[in-house]
Every structure is written in C-alpha cells, then in structure tokens.
C-alpha cells in the first residue's frame, strides 16, 4: 500500500469490513482482494454490466466506481444472493431457462433482475428490455434471459 492509501469501513454482503484502499483502486479490484470474483471488469467503460455491484441499494458499474467511495456504505455482490445455501428465485429461473452460456455476464444480469423485480414485480417485455439494456451478453442468451425474468417474477409473486 502506498502513503496515499485510505482506511475505509463498510458493510460487505452483511458483514462489517475495514480495509485500506488505494486512491486509484476501483470497486472490482477491492472485491477481488476479498476473493469475490462475481463482479468482473470486461469493457472497462461501464458499458457491458459485467462489473455490476449493488451499493446502498443501487446498481453501480464496479469498474468505474472508486473503491474509497464505499466508505460508510453497504455493498452487495452476487455472491450474497444464495449465502452459500439457497438460490434466489432469480438464480433458479436463470438455471431453469438456460439464460446464460459462458456465464461471464450472468452476475450483472442477475443483480439487475433483482433490482428490476423490486421496482416492478410484474414487468412487461418492454420494461425488461429497457431495464437490462445496459447489460451485454456476447453469447446472446437474451431470449432466455427475458423468459427467466418473467419466470422469476412469477416465482416471487407465488412466494
């Protein structure tokens, strides 16, 4: 760590966390140091959604978000959704509908779907497309992703 490193404290996936972070470090790099690999830097420009992380309840592009900015905030990553036990309805739906191939973009789609269904429990096709327009999938599992979002909405409505 350099002399510019800053001490921060935040809540990470439900646990109080204190860390030293470099000023140039981004949130994805911080998470990698915590062995959380689900948020991934791909395009490096905040355009593909692979690095999606939830900070204080809102999705951010982890590759553009300075790590030091999470000081005092709550950070949630895809690894928190199942707590190593039960998959969330969204995760189940993504598996059942085959809504991914290589899986590299999947964390971002799943986190965004959770956020969408919190805001709109019964989204239309158009609302799903609009909400997920910032996430790219080069394997192009989009038709299955749309099906999975609807299926997850049904699961959550039943629950």
């Amino acid at each position: 760590m350099s002399e510019h490193a800053k001490s921060i404290s935040f809540e990470l996936n439900g646990s109080k966390t204190e860390m030293l972070v470099e000023t140039h470090e981004n949130l994805v790099e911080l998470l990698i140091r915590m062995n959380l690999n689900g948020a991934r830097e791909s395009c490096g420009q905040g355009l593909c959604g692979c690095c999606t992380v939830i900070v204080d309840g809102s999705a951010v592009s982890g590759c553009l978000y300075p790590a030091a900015f999470v000081d005092g905030k709550t950070v949630t990553t895809v690894e928190h959704l199942d707590n190593n036990v039960h998959l969330s309805p969204v995760q189940e739906a993504f598996i059942e509908e085959g809504a991914f191939q290589c899986g590299f973009c999947t964390s971002g789609f799943i986190l965004m779907t959770h956020q969408l269904l919190e805001e709109k429990p019964k989204p239309t096709d158009e609302e799903i497309r609009d909400y997920l327009a910032g996430n790219l999938c080069r394997c192009a599992a989009y038709p299955e992703i749309i099906k999975a979002v609807k299926s997850a909405a049904n699961k959550m409505a039943r629950a």
Binding site: G38, G44, Q45, E79, F94, I95, G103, T106, C137
Partner: protein, 763 residues
C-alpha cells in the same frame, strides 16, 4: 421447438441444465480472469503506433526508472532466451515481441512488469519507439500485387502439406492460394442462356469475448505451468514446447471455464509471451488484455468475393466461378486454413457440374484475422446467397423455388467431388419456407414502412483430419469422471459429453464429474473449434465410456459375477480388490478418415467426415425515410443430426444467429491509417437486448448423422450462415435496393433508396 426422442438410458436427448449452472449464477465459476498466484507479476505491453515500419530505436529508460517496475523487455531481450521467437499454427511468422519491424498498429513492441497493474500500465506508456515508416497495404485485393510486402520471407510451419511450397518465398503477400477446377467452366459460360456476375464485400469484425483474452505462466520445478483462457490447450503445449526446445511433458497447460471464445482464443495468442516472461523473471506472470487490446490481437477476415454464374434457359445453374480474397492481416494465424477449408465450399450448396474456385489468403498491415464462429463460411454464404437471390430475381423465379431447382441433394457431388451424405440441405430449406408460410400472400406494408422477407442457406465442412482422445475413469465406489481437453467456453460441452458417458454407463449425467483441460492429466484434443467437438470428442468419449464398460464387465466375469447379475459396481471392485480400491480406465481415441484435396484440381472424394447445414428466414420492415431496418421475425433452422441436449443446442442456434446479426447490421472495425478508431464498446456496438427481434424461432430438422455419437454432430456455427444474406435479400424484397457490402447500415439502405429514386445523397 422440435420434439426429440431420448436414448434408452434417458441421458442423451435430455435437456438438463449445464452442469456448472449453479457456479455460474452465483458468480463462483472458475475463469483464468480470476486467477491470482503468489508473487505474481502483471504484464502490460507497449504497442506499435504505425502500421508498417522498421524499428529504429526503443527507449525503455523512463519505464525502467518508474518506481515499482520490476522489468522491461523488448523483442531483442526475448531473442536472447528463445533464439527463434516466432509462433503460429500455419506459419511461424509472429514474433513474441516485435523484432526489426512492426507490421500492424497495436503490435506488441515491449513489455513492462510490475506487481501493480496500474504501475505496469503507466510504465508501458513511457516507452518511446522510433520507427522508419514503410508503405503499408490494407486492402486484400491490393495486397495481391502490392509493392508493400508484409513479410520479407514466408515461413510455413510445416504442419500443413499445402503450405510447404510457400517456404522461403519472397516478394509476395499471398499466404495460400487454393484452386479447384471441376468440369468445363468456360464451356458452361459459352453456352449459357444467362450469365450473372457480382462482387461482395465483408468487413473486419472482432469476437469481443466478454472475458478478454488472458494467460498466466508460472515456473515450476519441472518446467512451466500455463493457465490460459484457451480453446486449444494441447496446441499451446506443443507450440510452447517447440519454442523452448523442450519435451511436451515439461509444459503443463490448464484451462478452466472460458468467458466466451468464438475462435478468438484459439491456437496460441498470449501464451508465448507469458511463458517467456515467467522463465526470464522466474516469477509467475499474468497478462490480461483490455477490451480495446483485443481488437489488435485477432479478428474476423474482411473479404472480397467475385462470383459469376452460368444459367441455362430452365433456370438451372450450369457453371460457377468464384474468386475469394481473405484479408488475413499482418500474421497468418489460421487464415490459410480458412482460405482452403471454407474456400472449397464457395459455390454454395448447389448442384453445379462446372465450377472453378480461387481462394487467396493475404497478408496486409491490419491486425491479424483468424477463426470466428464459422471459419470463413458466413463470408461466403453472404456472397453466394445474395448472388442466388439476384439470379432468381433476374430470371423472375421465386427465390425459394430457384433454390429447390438447384439445391445439392443427398448423394450428389459437392464442388470437390465428394458425394453429399447426411446433409439435410433440402429439409432445412423446406422448414424455413414452411415456417415463413412462404407460399401465402405477404403483407408488403404501406406508406413509409415497407416490408420484405428473405432466406439464406449455407453449409460447412468439418475441420479434418483431427484427433480427439478421452479417458473415462470408474472409481471403486462406482462413481466416474471424464478426462478430456475439450474446453467449455459456454457452448455446454461439459454437459453434452457427460450425457454421452451417462448414456453408455447408464448413470445420471449429474453424477459424471468432468475434469477440465489440464495437459498433465487430460489427453490430447486438437482444439475446441469449428463445431468439431460433438462429433470428434463425442466419438472419443463414447469409445472411452464403452471401453470402461467392457473392462468393468470383464472384471465382473473375472471375479465370478454371472452375466446380467444385478450387482452394484462397488461390489465388483470389492470382490476384485478386497476393499474399496482400484480403477477402471476406459480410453477412447478418434480420428475420422479424410482425403486432402488434390494440389492441382482441388478434388477429393472424402473431403469431410460430416457437413453442417444452417439456414435463416427473416421478415423485416424498412423505414423509407431513414433507411432504418427493423427485424420482425428471425427463423433459424439447422441440421445437427440428433441433438444431445435439445435446449442447449437451441440456445446455440439463437446465440449464433444474434451474433451474426451484429456482424450484419452494425459491427465494423473502422480504420484511419491502420489505426482502429472504434476499438471499444463505446464506439463498437455489439447486439444488446433491444436488438433482438420480437419473434425468434429455432428449429432442428429431424436428421441423424452417420458416424456421429448417437447420431449427433456439431452445431455452434450453423445458425450464423444464412443471417446476412437473408436480411440483404429481405431489404431488396422490401425496397428494391441491393446492398453488396456489410454491414447493412441505415445509411447504406437510405443511400440506395435515394439513388433508386433519382435523388442521391451526396458524400
């Protein structure tokens, strides 16, 4: 959706989710991207800023002086450790770092190493290189006789017999010339009722796997371990061994899941540099490309295709000549194979007695081109299916009817002379026609929104002759594992191969453990490419599972278990070894028969072990005021034999078609003096969720591949074939404008509409 039957054990033909599904939805799947090794150095390269130039000097002093920099190396430093530091699958033409001259903008010239990636990156920016610029060539047709010569001497690798004659050749950019001649083409043109001639172009595009290319190497007591996001671990081991002059067993190559590949991560890419750096620094070294850097590393060939057909008075094509020019960029990569393997299908899936083909791989001063989902086939189908539509329109014959009249049917010879077998081209065409309701009246739209429809059908030969080997290990408790070097880059090979093992051994697929490629453990496989794995590795896996089963049965007999006894596997092991101990190891090795094309005529009576067939039907709307094209229906149809996992292959169909949709409608690497000006997702758009048509159908025609494992064959590329020409044909159908260059942008459509109306738009 098509209904397919299950095999007896209920495993092959079953649509179970991917085995690694849980790991992927929880963010815990294993990629090289995640890899961190103790003491690891990060590599960042400084890249060439000119397209073609002699290196006068490289000043690394400022980079070396930066605090935290571990080392800085140039090509000359590499040469001290590896005397012949040139790699490549077809030609040994690519230096690990540039030597003497650079051949494209973005070529790696020097490398900086630091523990902190940010420091390595800053150091790379401090490297000053002075070049003496040389004339460059960028266009594939100009490269045929350009004064700018990319390589002083051609250096074929020696692996492919048809490249040997190029050894030592000077003053040429032609890295392979393939010729085929069958029948009397001149005679066919002389006696033709109609002659049609067109020229088509495709643009250079990039795979953009979302896990950017990444490799790491670590020195070990035995030699080197390379962790790499590669589609071809066995080839990496062979090529690194060759570069180092080591036996293969000193190099270990390990590959976990890939975050997409599509052909970008084939053969050898970043591995040579990380291997050299690990040996030079005696530290683990990781090199991760950025999205931008990928555009300078590998791409899909831009092409020019001149196609000419002779047609008789009945609308039968009697002769066709094809000249295809492949823009291979500065390094051959696998371009010469694309030139030949795709080249011999250039006349398309049509029954034509007289054909002539010329196909040229060309060096230019662009970033290298290689394999991208279709191995050159989409570029060819683009041209021959656009041409086919133009002939039908020219003769006033319905485009589907014209295809029926000329289509290549079972048993008839393809251009090489090989008789077609298990290629359901006609079924694919008929399925498209049926799903599009082709014979019914079509709503052509009104006012400023006009509607059109189009089809395209293509075919592809498999890459031959290539080998796959697999092991199936039955443990003493009766559980089993599959050892293979096929790479799961998202296509679902782990799952499909486990289904084959499960079917043979009559166990649940979910209980088959798949061991990922590790060349110290998993046996040889040529590569995961060209939709070859299902057929080649599938056969090897089936043979290995059958071998294990027979050995287990023999073991049962040896310990006195009667035939057909209902006994658990673990009990057989216990009877044999007195406790839970021992293994049964089944081995399967597969290489199909093949005859390479004659060096003069290009003919062969056994050109491929199987054919892939794919077709597309589309309906579109064109806004005549803006030129905007909206895809309203996309129908993907393929012959993939009997699908091993129907749901997974359906997603392969729609995924391939949507990827090709990007290459058709907007993706395009743009250049200024050899510099890619749009090498990022901010400027290079790939398909997003809004680009998906509202109506997508995937259909697998009922077919079975002879010699395929359970009648299956490859599928990953088939749905790319017909997309581009189907859309161009639909645009013609809607507004009477023919586009001959990809991508089919709104601007080019609008220019066509205005030109046709006698009101052209100025430049």
């Amino acid at each position: 959706m098509t209904i397919h039957s299950l095999m007896p054990a209920g495993q092959v033909g079953r649509s179970l989710p991917r085995l690694e599904a849980r790991a992927k939805v929880t963010g815990r799947a294993d990629y090289v991207h995640n890899l961190r090794l103790p003491g690891m150095l990060i590599a960042k390269v400084a890249r060439a800023t000119v397209a073609h130039g002699r290196i006068v000097s490289i000043d690394t002093s400022a980079a070396r002086a930066l605090k935290g920099v571990f080392a800085v190396y140039t090509g000359e430093d590499i040469r001290k450790h590896i005397p012949q530091p040139y790699y490549g699958p077809a030609f040994h033409d690519q230096p690990i770092l540039a030597l003497d001259k650079v051949r494209h903008v973005g070529e790696p010239v020097a490398v900086c190493l630091a523990e902190d990636a940010h420091i390595a990156e800053r150091a790379a920016q401090l490297i000053e290189v002075e070049y003496e610029e040389m004339p460059a060539v960028f266009d594939e047709v100009e490269a045929m006789d350009s004064k700018a010569v990319v390589h002083d001497v051609l250096k074929p690798a020696g692996t492919f017999p048809d490249l040997k004659h190029l050894h030592g050749k000077k003053d040429t950019n032609i890295a392979l010339d393939f010729h085929l001649k069958r029948g009397d083409v001149e005679g066919a043109f002389a006696s033709a009722a109609h002659v049609f001639e067109h020229e088509f172009h495709t643009q250079q595009v990039m795979h953009t796997p979302l896990e950017p290319m990444v490799s790491a190497a670590e020195p070990t007591r035995e030699g080197l371990t390379i962790h790499t996001a590669s589609q071809s671990p066995s080839f990496v081991r062979i090529e690194i061994s060759r570069l180092l002059g080591w036996p293969e067993n000193k190099v270990q190559v390990k590959v976990p899941h890939l975050g997409g590949g599509f052909g970008a991560k084939l053969y050898i890419k970043l591995e040579a540099l990380v291997a050299a750096l690990a040996l030079m620094t005696k530290r683990p070294v990781k090199w991760s490309l950025t999205m931008e850097e990928q555009f300078y590393t590998i791409s899909k060939h831009a092409t020019t295709f001149r196609i000419k057909s002779a047609v008789d008075a009945d609308g039968k094509v009697t002769g066709r000549s094809c000249a295809v020019y492949w823009n291979g960029g500065a390094y051959a990569d696998i371009g010469p194979r694309v030139t030949q393997k795709s080249g011999f299908t250039a006349p398309g899936p049509y029954d034509i007695d007289n054909v002539a083909i010329e196909s040229y791989a060309l060096y230019t001063n662009r970033p290298p081109a290689g394999a991208l989902r279709g191995f050159g086939i989409p570029q060819l189908v683009w041209a021959y299916e656009s041409h086919t539509d133009l002939i039908a329109r020219g003769l006033n014959i319905d485009p589907v009817e014209f295809r029926r009249k000329n289509i290549l049917r079972e048993g008839r010879p393809q251009a090489t002379g090989t008789a077609m077998k298990d290629a359901a081209i006609d079924l694919v065409l008929e399925k498209i026609a049926e799903r599009m309701n082709w014979s019914a009246p079509f709503d052509r739209g009104t006012g400023t929104v006009l509607r059109g429809r189009g089809v395209g059908v293509g075919f592809k030969a498999s890459i031959s002759p290539t080998t796959s080997v697999a092991f199936v290990n039955i443990y003493a408790d009766g559980s089993c594992a599959l050892y293979m070097s096929t790479v799961d880059m998202g296509q679902g090979s782990d799952t499909a191969m486990a289904q084959i093992v499960a079917e043979v051994l009559n166990v649940q697929t979910e209980n088959v453990r798949v061991i990922h490629p590790d060349t110290d453990v998993t046996p040889y496989d040529m590569a995961t490419l060209g939709s070859r794995s299902t057929f080649h590795m599938g056969n090897a896996v089936k043979l290995a599972a059958e071998d294990a089963k027979q050995k287990l049965e023999a073991m049962a007999r040896s310990v006195g278990v009667p035939e057909n006894a209902n006994i658990e596997t673990r009990e057989i092991f216990k009877k044999k070894y007195g406790m839970q101990a021992g293994n049964v190891m089944g081995v399967g090795s597969f290489i199909p028969t093949y005859k390479s094309p004659d060096s003069v005529t290009g003919m062969s009576d056994n050109i491929t072990p199987f054919w892939m067939v794919g077709g597309t039907g589309v309906e579109i709307e064109v806004d005549t005021e803006t030129g905007h094209v909206k895809l309203t229906k996309l129908i993907n149809v393929a012959d993939m034999g009997r699908p091993l996992n129907p749901n997974i292959v359906e997603t392969q169909l729609s995924g391939a078609a949507i990827m090709q949709l990007g290459f058709t409608m907007f993706e395009n690497m743009e250049y200024d003096a050899g510099q890619v000006t749009n090498a990022s997702f901010a400027d290079y758009k790939i398909p997003g969720i809004h680009d998906i048509p509202p109506d997508i159908e995937n259909h697998i025609v009922l077919a079975e591949q002879g010699g395929g494992p359970f009648g299956a064959k490859g599928v990953g590329e088939s749905a790319t074939f017909g997309v581009s020409p189907a859309i161009a044909n639909a645009i013609h159908d809607a507004v009477g404008v023919r586009l001959t260059d990809l991508p089919l942008t709104a601007e080019s459509v609008l220019r066509g509409i205005r030109l046709k109306a006698g009101n052209p738009i100025g430049e």
